[in-house]
Assembly symmetry: D3
Homo-oligomer: 253 residues x 6
């Protein structure tokens, strides 16, 4: 975890008039989305939210941004039947994203980044649909939606195995970097994957350990490398998309 003092602003800590000033100044607002979801027997249920919050914090620190209260729940399909997964419906996620982003635009906010630690395809489609409806109603708003795993998984097939996935080597390393005290010592290995393109009522039967990939070689160092890569890439994308000047260039954290 970074030792740099936190210069990002939390939306819940500012007053109404301060919020008005930030919106008027064209500051970027970041909405972290997570999930409460099984992540093997070695990672905490809030794994997705922790990663999204960490990335949001570091991006906000580097680019200057307001961080909104996290949404700690998501739509979780493949892990739904493991203990501890609380899955919102598609519509609930869509409406949440739509309401929050619409209300930001109604308040004069013009730049919104939604960063979700949970990257399930239904979950992300729900967020994107909600944000699209907000943007279509208020076209002056510019909005960006992605998962930090859209970036982190660029490292698969390079430093990390091609088949790494949910609660695997990358995710375990990142939590070791962010919240090492929450990571269990015994780390189950994932085996098979669900058959391709099937829409299944029982996907968990194909991933009995709740893990995809092999988290045994995970380390905080690897996690730091991944997080640096994610944050750096994301800062570049965000700076480009929203025409924001980066406070520094190159890797770091």
């Amino acid at each position: 975890m970074s030792a740099i003092p936190d210069r990002s602003i939390r939306a819940d800590e500012v007053t109404s008039p301060e919020f008005a000033r930030l919106a008027k100044a064209g500051v970027l607002f970041i909405l972290p989305f997570g999930s409460l979801e099984e992540h093997g027997s070695h990672l905490p249920l809030g794994t997705d939210m922790m990663q999204a919050e960490e990335v949001a914090r570091r991006v906000a620190q580097e680019l200057g941004a307001v961080i909104l209260p996290s949404v700690g729940y998501g739509e979780c399909r493949s892990t739904r039947n493991f203990p501890g997964t609380l899955s919102l419906s598609f519509e609930t996620v869509r409406m949440l994203a739509q309401d929050i982003v619409s209300e930001l635009a109604r308040n004069g906010v013009s730049k919104v980044l939604v960063i979700t630690g949970h990257a399930g395809s239904g979950h992300m489609a729900a967020i994107r649909l909600g944000v699209l409806r907000a943007v279509e109603a208020q076209p002056e708003l510019r909005a960006m939606v992605l998962s930090d795993y859209d970036i982190a998984y660029e490292l698969r097939g390079k430093e990390f195995p091609e088949d790494d996935g949910h609660a695997g080597l990358i995710e375990t390393s990142r939590i070791l970097n962010i919240r090492p005290e929450l990571v269990g010592k015994a780390r189950p290995v994932g085996g098979t994957r669900p058959p391709k393109f099937m829409v299944l009522p029982d996907p968990e039967t194909y991933i009995p350990t709740g893990v995809m990939g092999d988290p045994r070689g995970a380390s905080a160092e690897k996690g730091e490398t991944i997080d640096d890569y994610v944050v750096d890439s994301l800062c570049e994308l965000v700076a480009d998309n929203f025409k924001i000047k980066r406070k520094k260039s190159g890797r770091g954290g």
Copy 2:
């Protein structure tokens, strides 16, 4: 703020198997609800969430409970047109509450307390309706829904003025107790109230300062007294309703 070491459990910090054990053991789960809402020019937008989290933390500590990730957004009607208020629709709040509580029951959780710092009547009706639908579908679940202000406002007409309200003396004192660094020095006074029973498109015109009551006499001491009262009363209600043994008796924190 209490100096007692925090013994409550956070749902996002446990693993899937640990969650299963907690559910099976019949432990109480607490869902804090807040809002991102104007609270005068002196209190932070997250005032409601901070109070709900503080109460949840202390109740969990005293009774033993699992705290779920907070929902930091609510349905806000009367303050909707002040900067910084992000109001979810009624349906979004209803669905969120319904989904989360249903999913808890599906996971075997049998005792749920929803504690909301925001106490708008629409917001609370939405939570109650969502929880009712969850409970009707899974009648083995026992669920309790209230605002800490259902208890705190019992003190109006006693130690506190009858007409104290939103961002007023009680609320300002409580935030002074919990997060003093976030409370502004200049505290506007509220005047008139909206006409009784009218359903208004512009309620903010009747509360120009965004405050109901007079927060100038607020103090952390008063806040502590209120919080102790709320926590103690709530622990008693929860212990009664869910047949949980309190770890200690009497006032404190």
Copy 3:
């Protein structure tokens, strides 16, 4: 029941051009809401509607108003499992209230009073939400929503017991005043109440007689006193909120 000849206008009895004139003249329109709901073994299922219609009639008579056809159904939670309770869903009540009030505004009506004899919190939240959406879409409309029990229960702790409630002393007295021939001689007494703040699938188990309070001392005289108080208070509120001149002052009926 009052002997004064009825000077109020019924919307179903006027023609299209007459309606247009009334709307243009800025006349108040009153929508009575009731329920078909168990009220002990001694009161009729339409108790709520009868009271709302009586109050609507008398207010219309005093202030001059158009009375819309009553909605004889509501959302009934706590009595839902007693025979004879027909409970609409929250959404149905919301949509009904929203449609009717929106259509009034579309027709040029500028003042609407919704008076509901059923005062369940979900039911009232549904009406309020529907009316709010109508008002937000057509802000020139002024609308007021309340139950006659918002006023009648001001008498609890004064002339009437603090714990009087559903089908109790006040309600039985009022029906004795309005429709004495429908009130049974044997009047069951209520005992316990549901635990506070619990959201229950089976609230009826806590009110086995379907009565809250003790209706044995009810009388038409008490009912008349209550009705006079309700009508007088409501006329004052309505006159204030809508800037209508009262035709007479003081108590009466």
Copy 4:
């Protein structure tokens, strides 16, 4: 209007235990639906409800039945833009019908007749859809849905003109029979009709008087003949469909 004393039972006038007995005895329940809708400049807005109530009352009297509180609102398309028409949305009508009929079935009622005075095709489709969903969920329920105009218009091309319609000769005669004091002397004549099969945003432009047909020859006697025919035919249909024995045979009222 019939001089026979009214032996039908009103659901709002019975108590909870009485309702339970009626449901258990397999008694027919009748739900009258109307509308608040322009009916020329000579007929009252509640014309549809008045006819449905009259028919319901007479059928109940002859076959023995419980009459539920009327729903005085409907979905009105072609007259929507005339003053005084309050049109519910399709979904609202559907949900109302579905909720009420479902709740009757949940209460053990096994025979339901929905009789609607308003016969717009959308309105009737909404009622039918709602009742269908209720019946599919509770198949032991037998339900019948029709408009009295499904029967009354059998007389077109016989005693009455083929092109008689809304607020025309038949309808005016029936209101002259039921509520003569509400019928205006000046009765506008309808001319053209909307083009066939067109779905129009402005159907009222094709029926400028709000009348279809020629109501000038209307009389209470004609109305009585029509009402007798409707009631007699309906009693026969109901008796057949629900296996109820008629108390008398042949025409009358």
Copy 5:
């Protein structure tokens, strides 16, 4: 089936710029709706779609029109429990019709004809409701909705039996005309009909053969006569309603 070369345009075969030109030129667009529905043991499931497509093709040929991709599914109530009936919900049909027609109007199309081979009352109400909402939002659009059976059944009581219906003499003849190779030799006869005005969970029990009427005398020649009548009548209606000049007059194909 007609031997005339097909001069109608298929929307799926034109490019984006060509579509723009057609819309701008005010050309009529035709949307054929069908169903996948039991039609006795002798007719194919797509019977309704085949008839709608044939009629659409011939109308387009005669009046000049663009034919949209058919919707091969509908809401089917009375045959729902026979094998092979795939019934969409009312809402799905409504939304489909509304979306397609709204999108046509958004693209500048000003004349739309929806012709549905399936003529169930719920199905048609759903299409009409969807189209009505599209038209109310974009009132410059003119839209017409009907079933070819609104016209074909004008022949009942004349050349064809009064009680002919689903999969009966008319429908079988028409498919013999259009797709003779798909018609089975053994043609079951229908007997009773469901009781009038009943809303039934099991209508199929009243039509055990899935046929209404007697298809044994069906022939391609009869089918051709019917189709000619339908196309000619429809062309006249369409030409009138949309002010389109017919390319030829009188019967033919």
Copy 6:
């Protein structure tokens, strides 16, 4: 286009009893989904549907399957503002997919393949969500959902350029193979792409030609190679997922 005689079965051409036999025999049912969507100025609006139908036909021929009527409309976001794109809402696509697949399962069908030529992420999420709900309600059903472009784009970075996309080289070649007469000679080249991860109200401004990639080198031969690859890969996947024996092995068409 293949010269092999078509042995696949069309659902609209079989009778009700034949459908029952096919369902009981465990035959695969294929639902082709398309769109009516701009595809440059050189490809027809029905491009997606044509490809899905071609693939469905060839898979059905090889594996033995029943082909359902195509859905010729989809949810189209990025091309929505080009002429000729008719975009269904997300909910409409979801409900259509859910209704059709649920009804298949209700009819005893146990194997369903949904193949969509349109591969927009929202569109596919909608289909997947609808199918998931059908499968969760009827878990004995096995369902597979994909776009032929999930397979065709495996060839990017190999025989075809990495940045080929909508209406580009691959798609143009495929339509040249299937429907050469519909492909325009002038083929616009695509340039830039929308910024990554942005949710845009006006994506078309980033793809002014409506094309992604360079279709100038397209040929029917390339199209045949792609189609063979898609059909062969899909047959293998389908055979595996549904345990169906392929009638022949290896590439071909």
